[in-house]
Every structure is written in structure tokens, then in C-alpha cells.
């Protein structure tokens, strides 16, 4: 089956992604409530929204870094710009998220055009440093000079005396999409399991599917081919009559718009915007996500985003009490030892676990989690083809 201008393989791929995204609230609740493993459930709205939002952020980042190889260390600036735009629209117009999201995408595009135009005059490490400098500059401006626009340290939020000219008598008093309120959820109890279907999550998920489809089209387009060519040999590209500058700038602006959209969705879930969203750690996080998942692959950034957000939220929740419960059956000495050891990897120290995993992936799977998946698939195929040799060999491996 072919659909929406995609090849058969890509259509199947897209449909799988759509399916997985829609059933996420069920998939992420594999353990019944109250069981010892329930801590590892991730099917609550806040976290699922973050999966989708950071997925969008990483998909966009991958268009720049994965395709052209230009490593930006300043993408958090666009995230912040997106959030501020949305909150401003709440303050001026009302709680419908649509005007804010549109404004966020436009403003972050303009912002990316400016930063990209200057930064792309250099490549390699100098480009990274320039983008980092711009992002830190934006962060500091948001904190200090631009206080009238950003409300400085407190963060931008909606006050009762704001104009909100489009607010009617019965309009919802929290972010909504034409009446569908983001923080409302439907709950479903099946046996011991509880599934939460949150409006906000589905809103983010549908946006994520749309932008994933866009990135799929970009990957398969002549434009995407040129971006990949820039990564492998810019000299040859120039001597083939192609001007690499507008191509990289277009990629930079597109990925900036994705980041702006992600920032806008953050403020659509929670009507707040703070300068810390622009800090360099947030820029670094999306780099980690993309590399961990597999830069330059379609699925990689989404996997990486999910992986990091899962660890951030689940591992950081594990505390000493829970460790005591898990290891209670062991002899005392060993129990204390194991708890002491685990202590370094969970709770506030979850970064250590993430760091170790990141090292392992970079050393053993330079292509990220996607490469891991491909290796497993290959191993399974090889084993199967040993079983019924001739038949499996007729299928070309891709």
C-alpha cells in the first residue's frame, strides 16, 4: 500500500509509528497498580506529553545535525522563544493554544534565520560555539534586560488582569484547543491496571505524527539528498555547482521551527515560560537524545528522546525506601552493600546511569539505539536463514 506520496516501506513505517503513538498510554502501563514494579510504569500524562514534545524537538534537531552534520549547541533558544510566544498569546488573546503555536513557529523561524545566517558562516566547532554563544546570550537577555517581555526570574505567566480579549464567559481557564482542555483526561480501569488517556498527550502526539511525516518527506526529497551530500563532502557539492549556504540555512531554520513548536507545546501543556528553558543544558540534552538514538536516522531521535525522558523521570523517582523493599529478601550485609551501591545510580544520581549508558552506546553502538535494533534484527534474520536457508536468502536485505 502506498500513501501520501510515500513508498510502500515508508508507509508501513509511518503507520507503525502512528499506531505506537496512539496506544502509548496502554503500552507504557505494563504493570498493575500497587505492584512492586508499578514505579516503572510511565503512562502518566505529564511524562507522555514530554515524550511527544522532546520527540518533536529531537526530530527537528536531527534534520540539521543528522543530515547536514552541523552540530548546533543552541537549539534551546528556540524552545524558549516558542514558550514565550505562546504565553504571550494567552495573556493577550485567551487560552486557545492555536494562535500561540502559530506565532511560536513564525517567531522561532525568524530567530533561526538570524542566528543561522551569522553562525553558518563557519563550520565545525566554530559553528557549534557560535550557536552556543547565541543561546546563552538569549538566556541571559531573557533573565535580565528583556524582563518586560519575559518577566525575568519569575517566568512569564498569565495574571487575572491580563487583557485576554478573546476570552468568553464560558471559555476554559486553562490551555485548550477549541474547547478541548489539555489537562483533562479519561481514565480506564481494567483489572489492576489504570490507563490514562490525556487530551494534552493526544494533542502533542498528533502534532508529533504530523511533523514526523514532514521529516520523512524531507529525508526522501532532493532537498534531503543535498543536506546529506553536505555532510559527506561539501567541497564536491560546491564544485558540482550547488551553493551549500542556502541549503544549510534552510535546514537550520526548519529545525529551529521544530524546536519552537516543541517549546510552544510545553507552554500549551503548562501555561508557563521561564528562561531556564533556554539554558545550554537543554541544548545539550537534545544533542544527547539524537546521538543516543542514532543521528541521521528517522526513528533514532524519537527513541533517544523517549529513553532519556524515561530515565530522567523513572530512575530519579527511585529512593532508598524502594531499594530496601527490593533487596529485603537478601542477607543483611549484602542488602546494605547493594543498596549503598545502587544509591549512586538512582534518585538524584540518575545522571550517572545515563552517563554510563551514553558511554556504552557511543563506544559499542556508534549508530545509536537504532544500530542496536538493526544488529538484533540482522542476528535474528541470520539465525532464521540458517534454519530454512534458500527461502530467506531470496529476500534482499536492506
Amino acid at each position: 500500500m502506498k500513501m501520501l506520496g510515500l513508498s510502500q516501506r515508508d508507509t508501513t513505517f509511518l503507520l507503525i509509528v502512528v499506531f505506537l503513538t496512539l496506544v502509548t498510554p496502554i503500552l507504557l502501563q505494563p504493570f498493575p497498580e500497587g505492584s512492586g514494579m508499578a514505579t516503572f510504569n510511565a503512562g502518566y500524562p505529564d511524562l507522555m506529553q514530554r515524550f511527544a514534545i522532546f520527540g518533536i524537538f529531537a526530530i527537528g534537531f536531527n534534520i540539521l545535525f543528522g543530515l547536514t552534520g552541523y552540530l548546533s549547541f543552541g537549539h534551546a533558544a528556540f524552545l524558549g522563544v516558542g514558550s514565550y510566544s505562546v504565553v504571550w498569546m494567552y495573556k493577550l488573546l485567551g487560552y486557545n493554544v492555536v494562535p500561540g503555536i502559530l506565532l511560536a513557529v513564525i517567531v522561532s523561524a525568524l530567530f533561526a534565520l538570524l542566528i543561522g545566517y551569522v553562525s553558518l558562516r563557519r563550520s565545525g566547532i566554530y559553528f557549534s560555539i557560535l550557536t552556543l554563544a547565541f543561546a546563552q546570550m538569549s538566556y541571559n537577555l531573557a533573565y535580565s534586560v528583556l524582563t518586560p517581555l519575559t518577566n525575568g526570574e519569575t517566568g512569564l505567566q498569565v495574571y487575572t488582569n491580563d487583557p485576554q480579549v478573546l476570552m468568553g464567559e464560558n471559555s476554559p481557564t486553562s490551555p485548550h484547543f477549541f474547547g478541548i482542555v489539555m489537562n483533562e483526561s479519561a481514565k480506564l480501569n481494567v483489572g489492576g491496571w489504570e490507563f490514562t488517556f490525556n487530551n494534552g498527550y493526544y494533542f502533542c502526539a498528533i502534532v508529533a505524527i504530523l511533523v514526523f511525516y514532514l521529516s520523512l518527506r524531507i529525508f526522501r526529497s532532493p532537498f534531503g539528498l543535498m543536506l546529506r551530500a553536505i555532510k559527506t563532502n561539501q567541497t564536491r557539492l560546491n564544485y558540482t555547482g550547488l551553493n551549500s549556504r542556502p541549503y544549510t540555512l534552510a535546514a537550520f531554520v526548519i529545525s529551529g521551527m521544530y524546536a519552537g513548536l516543541a517549546g510552544a507545546l510545553m507552554a500549551s501543556m503548562d501555561p508557563l515560560a521561564g528562561a531556564e528553558r533556554m539554558q545550554w543544558t537543554a541544548s545539550g540534552e537534545v544533542v544527547l537524545m539524537t546521538i543516543l538514538g542514532g543521528a541521521g536516522t528517522l526513528m533514532g531521535p524519537i527513541l533517544g528522546a523517549g529513553f532519556i525522558k524515561y530515565f530522567e523521570n523513572i530512575f530519579s523517582k527511585i529512593n532508598d525506601n524502594m531499594l530496601h523493599q527490593w533487596f529485603a529478601w537478601m542477607p543483611d550485609g549484602i542488602e546494605d552493600f547493594l543498596i549503598g551501591l545502587s544509591h549512586f545510580f538512582v534518585g538524584k544520581s540518575w545522571h550517572l546511569t545515563l552517563g554510563l549508558l551514553f558511554m556504552l552506546v557511543v563506544i559499542f553502538l556508534p549508530g545509536g539505539l537504532v544500530e542496536g535494533g538493526q544488529r538484533i534484527a540482522k542476528a535474528v534474520r541470520n539465525r532464521r536463514s540458517k534454519g530454512d536457508g534458500a527461502e530467506a536468502q531470496t529476500q534482499p536485505a536492506e
Binding site: 518527506r217 526529497s221 532532493p222 543535498m226 564544485y239 558540482t240 555547482g241 550547488l242 542556502p246 534552510a250
Partner: protein, 251 residues
């Protein structure tokens, strides 16, 4: 009037006068070789044609238009393609994609925003690229990773990429450098074949006299940044000034 007219070109790098007073005229539809000992300024001269270097003095006219100050991609779009000493190809892409990029550059110019078209649906580009690969006998390698090929094949691919643009002038910077004898002969045959099939002008920089005398119709000998002689291969072979430049005065 030649297709490429070089007048009084000079280039200095600090204390080194790399080129001085170079005059050269490459006639349309000929193979023009530029030879000379190491450090004669051959590569510097070539870099002045493609926009990598800007000469300090003089002019370089292609097809009646000055190329000085233009960017490499602009000069390429005028009709000059270049083959590098070490093949420059898109190593991470497939052979087919490499050639398709040239076809896109020919059709769409230096930049075109086309994010919602699909490469596989561009029938004319796919056909052109397949035709080009058939012409250079590489069609069976079209799905290969370009970086994984032998050096000879990389050279052949680079040639195909340049030809796919249908350039009026093809510049070759030591196309057989570092190649084994068999590969060198293959390259010579390929170049001869290209010359027979198309209206194309070639300027070759080369060390290997075997290559030069098999292909060139005109030869310019460069020594210490200035052209010594320009003549047909027959006359160059026994020219005393050429021997002197290559072997030193004692010879």
C-alpha cells in the same frame, strides 16, 4: 579565440611568486595538457580557473566571461567541471545518488527548495543518472556505497558526476595520480571514449608523460610559474627547453 583565455595571470604567496605572466588559450573541443616539473604552478593555475584562488594580476575568461571573483559553484554553473587529484565524491551516499546530485545541479541550478518532492519520483533525473552510469560501465554498482569502491572506480564515478552536468570544459587535476598501470590505461581509454562521444573541451594537468602523449592535442609546458612553450605533442617531445626544465641544465 579559445573557450578559456588566460591573460597575464600572476599569483604570489608571501615570498613565493607561484605564477607570473601566464598566457594560455584553450581551444574548443581539444584536449589541452599542462605539464611541468613539481612546483611549476600547475595546480595553482588550475585553482585560479575554478574560483578557489583569485590571481593577483591578469584575467581568466571562460566563454567570453570573466570568472575572477566568482564562487566555485557559480563557475561550475557556467560550464566548468573539475576532477580532483584524489577523487572527491559523496562517500556516504550510493553511486546512484552521487550522479543524481549532479543531474539535480544541472536541472535546478545552485539552490532550489524542494522539500516535498521525492527523489525516487524524479523520473527524468533517475533516467539521466542511469544512462550516465551505463555510459561509464558502472550501472551494476549503482546501489553500492561510494566510499567502499576501489580508487579506480571512485575516479570513474567522479568523472561520471562531472559528465552528467554536460560541462563545456572539463578540468582534470592529475587524473591518474597514484594509480596502477592497468587503472591508468583504463582511465586513458575512458577519457578517449568521452572525447569521441561528446563535444567537450578538456584541460589536463598531468605528471605521467604516457597519459599526456596518449591524449593531448596541445601541450603547454610550465616551469617556475611561467609557460615555457606551447605546441603539439610531436614538437614538445624533442624540445630542448622542455628537457632542460625537467632534467636541469646539465642534461
Amino acid at each position: 579565440m579559445g573557450i578559456l583565455e588566460v591573460k597575464n595571470v600572476g599569483k604570489r604567496f608571501g615570498g613565493l611568486q607561484a605564477l607570473s605572466d601566464v598566457n594560455l588559450s584553450v581551444q574548443e573541443n581539444t584536449v589541452h595538457a599542462i605539464i611541468g616539473p613539481n612546483g611549476a604552478g600547475k595546480s595553482t593555475l588550475l585553482n585560479c580557473f575554478v574560483g578557489k584562488l583569485i590571481p593577483d594580476t591578469g584575467s581568466v575568461m571562460f566563454n567570453g566571461q570573466s570568472v575572477l571573483g566568482l564562487k566555485p559553484h557559480q563557475i561550475n554553473q557556467m560550464g566548468i567541471s573539475r576532477v580532483f587529484q584524489t577523487p572527491e565524491i559523496f562517500g556516504d551516499l550510493t553511486v546512484m545518488e552521487n550522479v543524481m546530485i549532479s543531474c539535480f545541479a544541472k536541472r535546478d541550478g545552485a539552490f532550489r527548495m524542494h522539500p516535498f518532492e521525492t527523489v525516487a519520483h524524479e523520473r527524468d533525473i533517475v533516467e539521466q543518472a542511469e544512462q550516465m552510469l551505463t555510459d561509464v560501465n558502472m550501472i551494476d554498482k549503482r546501489h553500492m556505497h561510494a566510499a567502499s569502491m576501489s580508487r579506480g572506480d571512485k575516479r570513474r564515478l567522479e568523472m561520471a558526476m562531472c559528465l552528467a552536468q554536460e560541462p563545456r570544459l572539463l578540468l582534470l587535476d592529475e587524473p591518474t595520480a597514484g594509480m596502477a598501470r592497468a587503472d591508468t590505461n583504463n582511465t586513458i581509454d575512458l577519457l578517449k571514449e568521452i572525447k569521441e562521444k561528446r563535444d567537450i573541451t578538456m584541460a589536463i594537468i598531468e605528471h605521467d608523460m604516457h597519459v599526456v602523449f596518449s591524449l593531448a592535442e596541445r601541450i603547454t609546458v610550465l616551469a617556475q610559474g611561467t609557460p615555457l612553450v606551447e605546441d603539439t605533442p610531436e614538437n614538445i617531445k624533442g624540445h630542448p627547453k622542455v628537457k632542460e626544465a625537467y632534467l636541469g641544465e646539465a642534461a
